[in-house]
Amino acid sequence: MTVTEYLSIAIGAILINNFIFSQFLGCCPFLGCSSKVETASGMGLAVVFVMGLASAICYVVNEFILVPLGLAFLKTLAFILVIAALVQFVEMFLKKAVPSLYSALGIYLPLITTNCAVLGVVLLNVQNGYDFLGSVIYGITGGLGFMLAIVLFASVRERIQFADYPECFEGFPICLISAGLVALAFMGFSGMKIF
């Protein structure tokens, strides 16, 4: 794969095919952890981290274990196993080696063990036929796209608190409406072609 292809994977994952706004993956943490910009960026950071690592390891598992044995149909199961073990391992490692990063990611690291965005990115890697570097780039930039979306949305929500909206929309309804509007803004990127 060429550099331009990698670049188009990256820009595509961040803007055009944003994981939340155009693929609707990872909507649960997107709504759950977006009440403050601070927690949102913690969550986003954890997702970037885990997506990148999971892409790399799942590529290896798929390419060198599942495909040679003709077990490609097991990839969903195997990837869940890999992601769950990986997140646990990373959590233990960070707790020991980089306590500052561990406390920054906090509760969000174990939360994304079962996140569909993480599983989505590794399955899409296989589906799109990316090579190792392409997979890792797609994983990391997909995470960055997630982070962009959740941080943008968290700042919107922080402002909503002071906005004057009808009382019956209080809480989740107004949150869902504004999520829809932000998603609509991202629709502007859809159909864009790079290179």
Binding site: V61, I65, L66, L69, G70, L71, L74, L77, A78, L81, V82, A85, Q88, F89, M92, F93, K95, K96, A97, E167, C168
Partner: protein, 264 residues
């Protein structure tokens, strides 16, 4: 054949990851402050959040670090605070036991209804239909039981459309007060037994029309109180816990029978 392969491959993957994690748990084991574990043992373990920390573990960690006072856990009571203080090697400052109280007597028999609400069993939903209540009195308890759902200790019950606190079960965590969308539920010191079970700030004549058990601000209690502990503000009697001696004289004088002396 592929069945055998699938089982073998996934089994092997699982075993390898399991073994790796087991090793990693040993290698990357981080010593937890033994104080933290000891403090955690003393706590009630309901994760009620009354202390303001994320769960009992969060509070225990904060105490062990010396960031939190020993007596923040109202749910496990003063004995636990004393134990925690012993572990931390400091003297416990007395945590005053608080108990939830619902200052509304407007049960179905006495309060006039604004409308017959048949929507979802949720106070917030019932509040949306104008007047902030299903009862004519805008200050009244709606009685859809958000506080009941919030209580982890089975101390809140809806009796005839008004929330009632079971004082023997209440631990004073304040979850009900947070859950109440109208801020009706309050935490009172347990020793404050004489209470005004109404929060209506409407004028007497209006209250008369809306509820048979509402404070009309007649000032009789204010005049009769031997300790100058009751004052009527905004047509509502208020007891000053600093001055109140719990004598209960006002209970007999109240023309609307809404000043009560709680038993337990």
């Amino acid at each position: 054949m592929s069945i055998v392969y699938s089982v073998l491959v996934l089994g092997a993957l699982g075993a390898i990851f399991g073994a790796l994690l087991a090793f990693a748990a040993k290698i990357f084991h981080v010593e937890v402050d033994p104080k933290q574990a000891a403090v955690r043992e003393c706590l009630a373990g309901a994760n009620c959040g009354g202390c303001g920390y994320p769960g009992c573990d969060g509070y225990a960690a904060a105490v062990a670090k010396g960031e939190a006072p020993c007596n923040k856990c109202v749910a496990s009571g003063p004995e636990a605070a004393a134990k925690i203080a012993e572990i931390m090697g400091v003297a416990a400052s007395d945590a005053e036991k608080m108990v939830a109280f619902v200052p509304c007597s407007g049960c179905k028999d006495v309060a006039e209804m604004r409308f017959n609400y048949t929507g979802p069993e949720d106070c917030r939903a019932a509040m949306l239909f104008g007047g902030k209540s299903n009862k004519l009195c805008t200050f009244a308890c709606i009685g859809m039981g958000n506080c009941v759902k919030a209580c982890k200790f089975d101390a809140m019950h809806i009796v005839k459309g008004v929330a009632q606190v079971d004082r023997s079960k209440c631990v004073g965590c304040g979850a009900c007060a947070d859950a109440c969308p109208k801020d009706i539920v309050k935490l009172l010191p347990e020793k404050q037994k004489v209470v005004v079970a109404c929060r209506s700030q409407d004028k007497g004549a209006q209250v008369m029309k809306m509820c048979k058990a509402g404070c009309i601000g007649c000032m009789k209690c204010q005049r009769e109180c031997p300790n100058d502990a009751i004052h009527v503000e905004n047509f509502l009697a208020k007891i000053d816990p600093e001055k109140c001696t719990q004598c209960g004289h006002c209970v007999g004088t109240c023309t609307r029978q809404i000043i009560r002396k709680l038993d337990a």
